[in-house]
């Protein structure tokens, strides 16, 4: 910048690589000055809020050839289908996919509850995951999703749960490109008389178009005798890192739903879910909301069917 004559800094340069290798090469060359972007809906709120500086280079991954088809099904060894969602899949595409709606309904519900239609038509599932607090995460954790990365050398898979832990202590993942979110096949209950308990609740400060205060995703099978199996529960919301409630799942797994199990479950959620409070909602409110939602759903599942 000249000493006497002031000039305005330039806008970021937007790179539009056509394949993964080119994208990774750009990232390696640009380092921290280059940021991967797709919908950009979250990044721009960060820039506006001053949480992040607008970088001098943006690497737009939405034009990458194999990002084009948002959702593909791959047959696994037991002739069951693995669902691969490209990182640049739009939230609206994920929401409207019939395979996802049939087999991963929690994810469909999660998509419906994110932002508003105009944003869902720009924002991507990859972006929601990489925000580390996205509303998709509790649903994806319940489905034990895997992440497919490219680190410039090659592709590798990592479980979502593992990455969420890694991301708490290391920024190394920011140099990798997320290619896809992989959903393993969902086991359907084989026993007669088992009903699915699949619930996703997002509680915000208003009904819709709202940041989450507490998010709960739960999946289980409940038999006619009220025995509960295949229990998976994930919680999140606000700035709280989403996680599975392993202790609570263990407590419930194979048990018979009754008031004492519900009571123990309630205490277990309060003990193991440690949300972060903020100026809008206390940690204790978030915790209690999660416990209430989980236990009320279990209570509903144990009521005699009318």
């Amino acid at each position: 910048m000249a000493m006497n004559k002031q000039t305005k800094p330039e806008s970021p340069i937007v790179w539009q690589p056509s394949d993964v290798a080119e994208a990774c090469t750009l990232k390696q060359q640009l380092g921290e000055d280059g940021v991967f972007v797709a919908g950009g809906t979250l990044l721009r709120t960060w820039w506006e809020a001053g949480i992040a500086h607008m970088p001098s280079h943006l690497i737009d991954i939405s034009g990458i050839a194999n990002m084009q088809k948002p959702i593909t099904l791959v047959s696994s060894s037991q002739d069951r289908q693995i669902c691969q969602i490209r990182a640049a899949a739009l939230l609206s595409e994920v929401r409207n996919d019939s395979h996802i709606r049939t087999h991963y309904s929690l994810l469909t519900t999660a998509m419906k509850n994110i932002a508003a239609p105009s944003i869902r038509n720009l924002a991507t599932l990859g972006g929601n995951v990489l925000s580390r607090v996205g509303d998709a995460l509790p649903a994806l954790l319940v489905y034990e999703a895997m992440l497919l990365w490219h680190d410039g050398q090659g592709e590798f898979e990592q479980s979502l749960a593992e990455w969420l832990l890694e991301a708490q202590v290391s920024h190394a993942w920011k140099n990798r490109l997320l290619l896809a979110i992989i959903l393993p096949p969902v086991d359907q209950p084989e026993q007669e008389g088992h009903g699915r308990l699949d619930v996703y609740h997002k509680v915000g400060r208003r009904e819709v178009f709202t940041p989450s205060i507490t998010t709960v995703a739960m999946s289980a099978a409940v038999g006619a005798d009220r025995h509960i199996v295949e229990v998976r529960i994930a919680v999140g919301g606000g700035q709280t890192a989403p996680k599975r409630l392993g202790h609570t799942e263990l407590l419930l797994e194979g048990g018979k739903l009754d008031r004492s199990l519900l009571q123990s479950c309630y205490s277990s959620v309060l003990e193991h879910f440690r949300p972060v409070g903020d100026v809008f909602a206390s940690a204790s409110y978030r915790q209690k909301t999660a416990a209430n939602l989980i236990v009320s759903e279990l209570w509903k599942a144990m009521q005699p069917k009318s």
């Binding site: 006497n4 009904e207 709202t210 008031r259 909301t289 209430n292 209570w299």
Partner: protein, 762 residues
């Protein structure tokens, strides 16, 4: 009769500005641009309270494409503004008092350049202790924000002997109520286009609720004669009181005059939140007592309003609150003590309801608590203590006699929703954590600015050269439906067709000063204006026509398209033909003041609107969240001038009240907004608006009433909050004292699931 499309018949019309708004073809003032236009930006203080040690604008001035950088040194006239009290600096000289305070402004060739130029302005601050709480600001050792102290205004009222009043009470309730810093959240943020004209005049295209007040204020700042400034102030994308005070205008005007180029400013939502006005957060402590039969004997109120850094209308809002904490009730012994207090928080100011919303939330809460103590139906307690039609006003001032209070009370009592109150669940089976309740509340709300404040009104009717009948008023259309209402009044009162009418508003070069478009006053004043003008204007037209037609004027009438014969109902002469006849221009005008009470009490009102609200709510005890299921509003405001407008105002006001009650609060900590944008400041969406909003207007006025339609622009926003609080208490037995309601207060654990009979109960 309920108000809806079916009951309104032909009066249910497409509003004249509807098509443009729905299709997006209508250009708002902030959509305008001009060739050679520069972009203005304002540098605002990042600190809530600091001394300015130095301001250096050199680097910004050297930036290519920057045409002007202004500070307090560049203000030719008064470096202050404020509708009532001019204490807000256009540019701060040596002290900043809130995070929106303006320090400098730039005009540059692009918006990006202007923003970058702001970053080049160097300001040295010395931080001062922050006064972020109004109660704290009142304490003896609080830092002084203004030389005269931290109290902007104190307003008191008393009657009777409070001590002996309370001594005679059988039941006394005491509580303290807190209301939020609500934001207007107009869809169109503040902005405008400022054009220096070739003849040296300045044209300002910028939203305001009183063009002539902006003209006066800008003339002081720019040291220009008022006549040298033209304010075009309509159409506006929402205001709700928030754009009545100056916002971007001083900067746009000064930058345009300095650069001699058109300058555009338009706040981002971020800047709107930071610099814009909010509703006064209030803390209202009340002690209220009755005798054993439930008659109110004594009422003591202490109000502390956080008015922020500068005055604007903080004093007037407090006066309104002091009047309205008494409400439509009779008491023998009353003492109200109110303070409007400067803090380093964001600016508080005018907002739909004008201090009544806070007052009624507290007052109606007291009535509900007393009813419980008395073991009395809360609605019956209100009837027992209700003011009578010929009672004086809250301050003992003469007021216009109406039966409004009893009318809305009766209407609510008879409403289907209120009759459901003992069985709000009906036959519906609900999950055990869902609780339902029905509550009600009651209010009287003053219209007009009140005693002691200039409150001009009036307008003009003319036959234009092209044969249009022109209705010319100094009001603004900000979405409330003023044009639709005026059009319908002209059609109904003069028999005109839509195509005969041209409405001219919001342009100080063209319109008379009809006063402000605030305080629920515009419809009342347009009606009164047309009443005043009807006879003289009609007779001018008919007499001219009579000469031309060779008929007696009393054989002629005005109608759609022109002049008709009374007997034959056939069109004899079009307005265009009439306009083409030579002669003096046909034009009539009237000017008067909004009627006021004969009292010395500043701000006291004369005309009131009465309202009662019944609401049904559902509480989810798992989350503590409240949903409104159904609403009933009875509004006694005289004849309905425009059914859609009336319904829209009550529904819209109620929607704002819902936000005030359940989601909205511009949270501040240490003088900084925690809600900087609409991702954390949450207004209700369509999903919050469940069920129906039933509106029952009560049009009857006493015989001989000459005041016509009362204002309804604000009252819809006032009464819902206490009704929701009452419904919540009915549902779950918890008293709400703080808005917006914190869900945690209403949250329960899952006791239903741990109970013995958990399985069998359903």
């Amino acid at each position: 009769m309920l108000l809806n499309r079916e009951t309104s018949g032909k009066r249910w019309r497409i509003r004249p500005d509807g098509l443009g708004k729905v299709t997006g073809s209508l250009a708002y003032l902030t959509d305008m641009s001009a060739s050679g236009m520069l972009y203005g930006r304002v540098l605002r203080s990042p600190h809530p309270h600091a001394l300015i040690l130095s301001i250096c604008t050199e680097k910004a001035k050297q930036l290519e494409g920057v045409h002007a950088v202004l500070t307090h040194l560049d203000v030719p006239g008064l470096n202050r503004y404020g509708i009532a009290h001019q204490d807000q600096p256009v540019f701060c000289e040596n002290k900043v008092r809130y995070v929106g305070d303006a320090v400098a402004a730039v005009a540059a060739e692009t918006a990006e350049l202007a923003e970058y130029a702001l970053s080049l302005i160097e300001v040295d601050y010395e931080l001062l202790p922050i006064v972020d709480d109004a109660e704290l600001a009142l304490s003896q050792d609080a830092p002084l924000l203004h030389p005269q102290g931290n109290v902007l205004h104190r307003s008191q009222f008393s009657r009777g002997q409070l001590d002996s009043g309370f001594a005679a009470c059988s039941h006394i309730v005491e509580d303290t109520y807190f209301t939020p810093r609500q934001m207007h959240t107009y869809m169109e943020t503040e902005g405008g286009l400022f054009v220096p004209e070739e003849d040296g005049r300045l044209t300002v295209y910028s939203p305001t609720q009183h063009g002539f007040m902006d003209r006066l204020q800008l003339s002081r700042i720019a040291a220009m004669k008022q006549e040298r400034i033209r304010i075009v102030s309509s159409p506006i994308g929402g205001s709700f009181g928030g754009k009545d005070e100056l916002n971007v205008q001083p900067y746009g005007a000064l930058l345009a005059l300095k650069t001699n180029c058109p300058v555009k400013l338009h706040h981002s939502r971020w800047e709107s939140v930071r610099a814009g006005l909010k509703r006064h957060p209030m803390k209202i402590a009340m002690k209220t007592g009755t005798d054993a039969s439930g008659r109110l004997l004594a009422h003591q109120v202490r109000i502390i309003a956080d008015t922020g850094a500068y005055a604007t209308l903080g004093a007037e809002v407090l006066n309104f609150t002091v009047e309205h904490v008494l409400g439509p009730y009779r008491y023998e012994h009353v003492e109200v003590d109110g303070y409007s207090v400067y803090t380093n928080n964001g600016m508080s100011g005018e907002f739909r309801g004008f201090g009544g919303n806070q007052a009624i939330f507290a007052l109606e809460g007291q009535l509900d608590r007393l009813a419980e103590k008395l073991g009395m139906d809360p609605w019956e307690l209100r009837r027992l203590n209700m003011r009578m039609p010929d009672d004086s006003g809250p301050f003992g001032q003469p007021v216009v006699v109406t039966e409004g209070a009893m009318q809305v009370w009766n209407a609510a009592e008879a409403s289907g929703l209120w009759r459901e109150r003992s069985m709000p669940d009906g036959d519906q089976e609900r999950e055990p954590w869902i609780k339902v309740g029905i509550g009600s509340a009651f209010t009287m709300h003053g219209g007009g600015l009140g005693v002691g404040i200039p409150d001009p009104a009036g307008g003009r009717l003319s036959l234009a050269a092209d044969g249009c009948i022109e209705a010319i008023f100094g009001y603004e259309e900000f979405g409330q439906g003023l044009l639709a209402t005026l059009e319908l009044m002209l059609i109904e009162q003069f028999g005109l067709a839509e195509s005969d009418i041209r409405m001219i508003i919001g342009d100080t070069d063209l319109v008379p000063d009809s006063g402000s478009t605030t305080a629920s006053r515009a419809t009342s004043m347009m009606w009164k204006t047309l009443q005043n003008l009807k006879a003289p204007f009609t007779s001018q037209l008919l007499e001219r026509a009579a000469v031309l037609l060779g008929k007696a004027a009393d054989m002629l009438v005005m109608g759609a398209g022109g002049i008709y014969e009374t007997a034959g109902r056939s069109l004899l002469l079009t307005y265009k033909e009439l306009a083409e006849v030579e002669g003096e221009p046909i034009s009539c005008s009237t000017a008067f003041q909004f009627p006021t009470s004969d009292t010395a009490r500043t701000g006291a009102h004369f005309l009131y609107t009465y309202a009662a609200v019944v609401v049904k709510v559902e509480i989810n005890q798992l989350t503590g969240r409240v949903k409104v299921l159904d609403q009933y509003h009875a509004v006694a405001a005289g004849p309905v001038m425009n059914p859609q407008g009336f319904l829209g105002q009550i529904e819209g006001g109620s929607s704002m009240a819902l936000g005030f009650t359940v989601t909205e609060d511009a949270v501040m900590q240490q003088g900084q907004y925690m809600t900087k944008n609409l991702d954390t400041y949450l207004v209700p969406t369509i999903a919050e608006h469940r069920g129906t909003v039933t509106v029952e207007p009560i049009e009857h006025l006493p015989q001989g009433d000459s005041y016509g339609p009362r204002g309804i622009g604000e009252v819809g926003s006032v009464t819902l909050a206490p009704a929701i609080a009452a419904a919540i208490y009915k549902a779950v037995g918890i008293r709400v004292t703080k808005l917006p309601i914190e869900p945690e207060l209403l949250q329960n654990d899952c006791a239903f699931a741990f109970a013995e009979e958990a399985v069998s109960e359903r």
